[in-house]
Amino acid sequence: MHSKTKKIRLMEVCGTHTMAIARSGIRKLLPPEIELISGPGCPVCVTSQEDIDRAIEIARRKDVIMTTFGDMMRVPGNETSFEELKARGADIRVVYSSLDALEAAESNPDKKVVFMGVGFETTSPAIAATVLEAKKRKLKNFFILSNFKVLFPALEVIARSKKVAIDGFICPGHVSVITGTAPYKNFVRKFRKPCVITGFDDRDIVKGIKMLVEQVKNRDPRVEIEYKRVVTEKGNVLARKKCGKVFSVRDSVWRGLGKIKKSGLRLKKEFKSFDGEAHFRVKLPKVKKDKGCICGEVLMGSRSPLECRLFGKVCSPARPVGPCMVSTEGTCAAYYKYR
């Protein structure tokens, strides 16, 4: 593309992009001066150890049915994982939609059904709809662990970091379907970093990279949409409205990035009766000292999975040490699977 040796560092924010890039082998085709850094866009991975341990403690209770997305099953907590707990007799169920959890609550009135909620702007509207439905059905035994996160405050942390020094962002198509371009415009105004909202097909991604490189070269940071067939400037207003009705923002701890202001969602007062965190006041086990896992730095983009001494040795998808190796969208899993 161009011969000047200055490196252009682009971050693919979203875990789905990380996987697609690894799967199609795009990295190998890029000229050496373009570097792709994987970002924090894997919801399972950025969930804090404390939030995982809390869910595990709740799942241990005899009166609880824990429901969760499949990716969460094998994430290692401090002592055990959902999968292992289930093999020992806990009632933990994989669901494909939070509405399935709602159905479980209805058909098991003698149990407390808890939904371990993780996800970004793409997931939270559906959960908001589920909570509204639960309220309508007057369910007393349905709870949400709200570990939902908002992407932009985390992006700001990364944009500010000198250590990571990103030149442009490959922005997530799915999140943008909901948010539209307004939050990106703020972001670009503030940090003067190019943003291209990109689809998930390999050709989309290549095109997105090309658009970013041009912006970087021309020193013309803007928000561009590559994924025009799906993403609109306005986004999904209705979904955002639903979300706003049910959730309010709160500070949230991200694995690797630490506590970020206004980067999480909690249930509003009117929906307090569904708040699992408030209902089950669990004492969290003392966290054992870390095992050398660098998931945190991988999520921040400051180190690559290949720099982790556990990678591929102690830590593999079959025996994961950190969440980035578990989730199908995790950076370590992508690097491992598509070496």
């Binding site: 789905t16 996987m19 690894a22 799967r23 199609s24 082998g25 795009i26 190998k28 085709l29 499949g70 099953m73 094998r74 002592e79 055990t80 999968e83 292992e84 289930k86 093999a87 020992r88 994989v94 494909y96 399935d100 998930f200 390999d202 050709r203 290549v206 593999s316 998808p317 079959a318 025996r319 199908t328 969208e329 491992y336 699977k337 598509y338 070496r339």
Partner: protein, 330 residues
């Protein structure tokens, strides 16, 4: 970590952890035939070459688009024998039934077994029934054994040869997705049906076209990728496949994109690959179903590994299945 090691669902999904269980057994029973680690054992009894296999079926739900547990049990057993280059003849069936199962359901499964065995041309010659308390099994499990006679004049083993072409008999990923869709009510197009069918007739046609077929494998758990990895390893040769040549239905690809699955790793119940001398590849392909394709070749480079040429002309290694999120698909 918790005190005692226990078996979790991940130990049963055909991935790496399952090998921990297999290793326990292999060490204890080690013998020449078992050590081949084939889906069907090849026996030589007084000059007669036989293929012998066993399998258990625990699929959930019992009935799904394109098949049911009975059909699956018969065809699964028949296919394991067929890909050894053998003609399947007899099978056994053992049922473990949970109390409370609807009698009609049992009859429906029996009828399906009858139709399937007729179609595949095998006889059910012995069997067993056990009933257990509620909660000790889930509705019904079926264990089978099967035996067939090897008539092929060439030799089918687990070792491919350099320059072999790799032929697949149709599109991949349908069975696993059909089960998931039925079980979880995901609401994907009903066009995703299990490909559950007997392969023995198609295999027979292939065998009649070439004496230079070296490896055949039915692509069940772990999908195409895992089977290719196993063959690359057991052959100590490299495999190169071309992503664009691998047949995948649009509906399957779409569902995979949404769920984050890779069709290369999804189970099939009516697909097999054939490693054959390149000169005979086209003949063999034409003996298969219309969607059959030549998808790659065997090389002496990167031994023991499978390389995939991606659509955008990059390449990557295909690893073995590590862990599967879909339990109880067969």
């Amino acid at each position: 970590m918790m005190a005692q090691k226990i078996i979790t669902m991940s130990h049963g999904n055909g991935g790496r952890l399952m090998h921990e269980l297999i290793d326990v057994l292999r060490v204890k029973f080690s013998n020449r035939i078992l050590n081949e680690m084939a889906d069907a054992a090849e026996l030589d009894i007084k000059g007669n070459r036989l293929a012998f296999t066993t399998d258990s079926y625990v699929v959930k739900p019992l009935f799904f688009p394109g098949g049911d547990i009975g059909k699956l049990a018969v065809f699964g057993t028949v296919n394991d024998i067929a890909v050894k280059g053998a003609k399947p003849l007899y099978i056994s069936l053992a049922f473990i039934i949970e109390e409370g199962l609807d009698f009609l359901t049992f009859e429906r499964i029996a009828k399906s077994i009858q139709e399937a065995s007729r179609k595949a041309g095998v006889f059910v010659v012995t069997g067993d029934i056990k009933v257990v308390e509620r909660g000790s099994a889930d509705k019904i499990f079926i264990n089978t054994a099967g035996i067939g006679v090897i008539e092929y004049k060439g030799r089918i083993s687990s070792r491919a040869r350099k320059e072999d072409a790799i032929v697949i008999n149709g599109s991949i990923g349908e069975h696993g997705l059909a089960i998931l869709n039925a079980r979880e009510n995901l609401g994907f197009e009903s066009s995703i049906k299990s490909d559950c069918r007997n392969l023995n007739l198609e295999v027979k046609r292939c065998l009649s076209k070439s004496r230079k077929i070296h490896v055949m494998r039915d692509l069940t758990r772990g999908g195409l990728a895992t089977s290719l990895c196993e063959i690359a390893k057991s052959s100590s040769l490299g495999i190169e496949i071309d992503e664009e040549s691998i047949p995948v239905r649009k509906s399957v690809q779409k569902a995979c994109d949404i769920l984050g699955f890779d069709p290369l790793y999804i189970a099939n119940e009516g697909k097999f690959v054939c490693f054959v001398s390149a000169g005979d590849a086209e003949k063999v392909r034409r003996a298969m179903s219309p969607r059959a394709r030549i998808i790659g070749r065997v090389t002496s480079q990167h031994k023991g590994k499978v390389y995939l040429k991606t659509r955008i002309a990059s390449s990557r290694i295909l690893p073995m299945l590590e862990s599967d999120l879909l339990p109880r698909i067969c």
